[in-house]
């Protein structure tokens, strides 16, 4: 990344970097360092005294059945959101890629949910699936289903997955469509001449050629499901009923902000930090593409 022709100025580059570096130091590195620091200490109930406890916070968190349950739940949630959002986006993109009339219109019509905030998506689906007033919620009850996501944890999880995935489909759709349009059409036509049917052409040619996009989206969707869905859960179920929709990020928020457990929540922060680093590393190592806008 070295250019031959550059400007000579001793002070200017530092001034140009100053705003970004200052924000980075004060709001990124300092808090991250503090999270690591506090994760090794135990505070008393009044926050007056603290004792250095080595890895006790980590041992406690990782041995806590509630934490492990939340981790398992996060995996189920993330996998469901990712599969649902990616599979439906791929199906729609494949259809839109067939040069049918109105492809541009469909793209516009499928693009805009990207702009809807996760919390607002949650409010919309809540209104549809509310057991007493929602059109589908009431419909399910009329059909004899004991539908109440406020009482039934499995139903609550399903609703949170639906709202979270609904919002992510547009993003995946745009990437799949761009990936499909980059595939050389003669390759597919040659296969058609050789007698491969549509399904065969898709699974043996299109899908493999699409794998860089698929892999990239896989990581992006997992990151979204892990970290980007706090708003959906907070607005829709607040982690409930019980703890049935409490993912790791939600638990971190509850323990840190509501229960004010500084040591425990710091240890959770550091654990999640390691998860983010692993995901980012995977992404750069294997596909050299960036994750999300933050």
């Amino acid at each position: 990344m070295r250019r031959r022709v550059i400007f000579d100025d001793k002070l200017l580059p530092y001034l140009l970097l100053a705003p970004q570096v200052a924000i980075t130091l004060v709001f990124f590195f300092w808090p991250a360092a503090q999270a690591i620091y506090y994760s090794f200490y135990l505070q008393d109930a009044f926050g007056l005294r603290q004792t250095f406890v080595w890895f006790d916070n980590y041992r406690y968190v990782l041995g806590d059945p509630l934490y492990l349950a939340s981790a398992g739940r996060t995996l189920v949630f993330s996998a469901s959101v990712t599969i649902l959002a990616m599979a439906s986006a791929l199906a729609l993109a494949v259809m839109a890629d067939r040069q049918i009339r109105g492809a541009a219109a469909y793209r516009t019509l499928l693009m805009w949910p990207y702009a809807v905030a996760p919390a607002v998506a949650a409010v919309l689906w809540l209104f549809v699936f509310h057991p007493a007033i929602g059109i589908l919620g009431r419909g399910l009850r009329d059909l004899g289903v004991a539908w109440d996501y406020k009482l039934n944890g499995v139903q609550a999880m399903g609703l949170v997955v639906l709202a979270a995935a609904w919002k992510q489909v547009s993003y995946n759709f745009l990437f799949f469509l761009a990936g499909l349009q980059a595939i050389q059409k003669p390759v597919i036509e040659a296969a058609a001449i050789d007698g491969a049917g549509p399904a065969r052409r898709f699974w043996s040619i299109v899908f493999p050629l699409l794998s860089p996009t698929t892999f990239f989206l896989l990581v992006v969707n997992l990151v979204y499901a892990f970290f980007g869905t706090f708003g959906v859960i907070h607005a829709l179920t607040a982690g409930g009923p019980g703890k049935s929709t409490e993912t790791l990020i939600y638990k971190l928020w509850v323990d840190g902000v509501i229960n004010l457990d500084l040591g425990g929540s710091s240890a959770q922060s550091v654990i999640l930090l390691v998860v983010v680093m692993a995901l980012t590393a995977v992404q750069f190592r294997f596909i050299e593409r960036r994750v999300h806008y933050g």
């Binding site: 250019r3 022709v5 400007f7 001793k10 200017l12 580059p13 530092y14 140009l16 970097l17 705003p19 970004q20 924000i23 980075t24 709001f27 990124f28 300092w30 808090p31 991250a32 999270a35 506090y38 439906s88 199906a91 729609l92 259809m95 839109a96 067939r98 109105g102 793209r107 019509l109 499928l110 693009m111 990207y114 702009a115 809807v116 905030a117 607002v120 949650a122 409010v123 809540l126 209104f127 509310h130 007493a132 059109i135 745009l174 990437f175 058609a192 970290f227 706090f230 708003g231 907070h234 607005a235 971190l252 902000v257 929540s265 710091s266 922060s269 960036r290 994750v291 806008y293 933050g294």
Partner: protein
């Protein structure tokens, strides 16, 4: 791939129309909900067609926000908060990243790579994983319930810096040379050549970052406690409360619709740059 002929040509349309319908369905219900009265909705008797109270509901949400059971600041106030937050974050991120990338690409100085990596590493520190300590810093700086507290900590951007660096690296050396021979200093080169050349990238990034700022949830939830600082996204969840059947759903749905209009308008009106920016900047 058209050898199957007209017999199956309707299949893609069918799938796409179904997809569009699934996307549009909850929005349609929100629109309908915002045109009836709270009682009709609360009894579970809301029809599938619009009622006659659209004007009243939107006017009440816009100027008062609160209804019989819902307490909220006026939607106009919450929209203004969201607009300030989204604009400051989008413009701030772009400005700060432009000059950082400019420094890293067009100057050689001690510590250049160190600073570059320092910015790069922030990719791995999303706000979600450092909630409590970041909150403490903001509170120590006295920035709780202020717009600077709401925006400045989110203005650093590794992604935007990397993107602009990529753009700047494609600018041929000859162009820089020519500008220098013509007597352009660093500032003139930046404003007269770099900025115009990065115009489309700036537009694309603006769309994405505006949406990011508008939709940000956890940060305003943490930093603002005063209701007059509520952004629309936070305000609407507070209006819902525990989500009882008997609440002012008509006002909540009017608020939801108003909350979606600005970001959706930005995406749809700027879709040419948006798609380009989204797909290309992630490469």
């Amino acid at each position: 791939m058209n050898e199957s002929g007209a017999r199956t040509a309707w299949v893609p349309h069918l799938v796409l129309v179904f997809g569009v319908a699934v996307f549009a369905f909850p929005i349609y219900m929100a629109l309908i909900g915002s045109t009836h009265d709270a009682g009709t909705i609360g009894r579970g008797g809301m029809p599938l067609y619009p009622g006659g109270l659209a004007l009243e509901n939107y006017a009440q949400a816009w100027t008062e926000g609160s209804g019989l059971r819902v307490k909220a600041p006026p939607v106009s106030r919450m929209l203004l908060n969201s607009l300030i937050m989204a604009m400051v974050i989008a413009v701030g991120k772009i400005a700060v990243s432009l000059i950082s990338a400019y420094a890293v690409v067009f100057f050689h100085f001690p510590g250049r790579m160190f600073f570059f990596w320092m910015i790069f590493v922030t990719l791995m520190l999303p706000v979600e994983v450092r909630i409590i300590p970041t909150f403490k810093v903001v509170s120590d700086l006295g920035m709780i319930n202020t717009f600077p507290g709401l925006t400045i900590p989110l203005i650093a951007s590794a992604t935007a810096t990397l993107l602009f660096r990529q753009v700047f690296l494609t600018i041929p050396d000859n162009l820089v040379e020519a500008a220098k021979i013509d007597g352009a200093g660093p500032w003139r080169f930046f404003t007269a050549i770099l900025l115009p050349l990065s115009r489309t990238n700036i537009a694309a990034l603006f769309v994405i970052l505006f949406i990011y700022g508008w939709n940000e949830y956890l940060w305003p939830l943490l930093i603002t406690t005063s209701r007059s600082m509520d952004t629309i996204v936070i305000g609407i969840t507070k209006m819902i409360g525990s989500g009882d059947a008997q609440t002012d759903w008509n006002l909540i749905m009017a608020t939801a619709v108003l909350a979606m209009v600005p970001p959706v308008a930005v995406v749809v009106l700027m879709q040419r740059w948006f798609v380009k920016g989204l797909v290309e900047s992630e490469k």
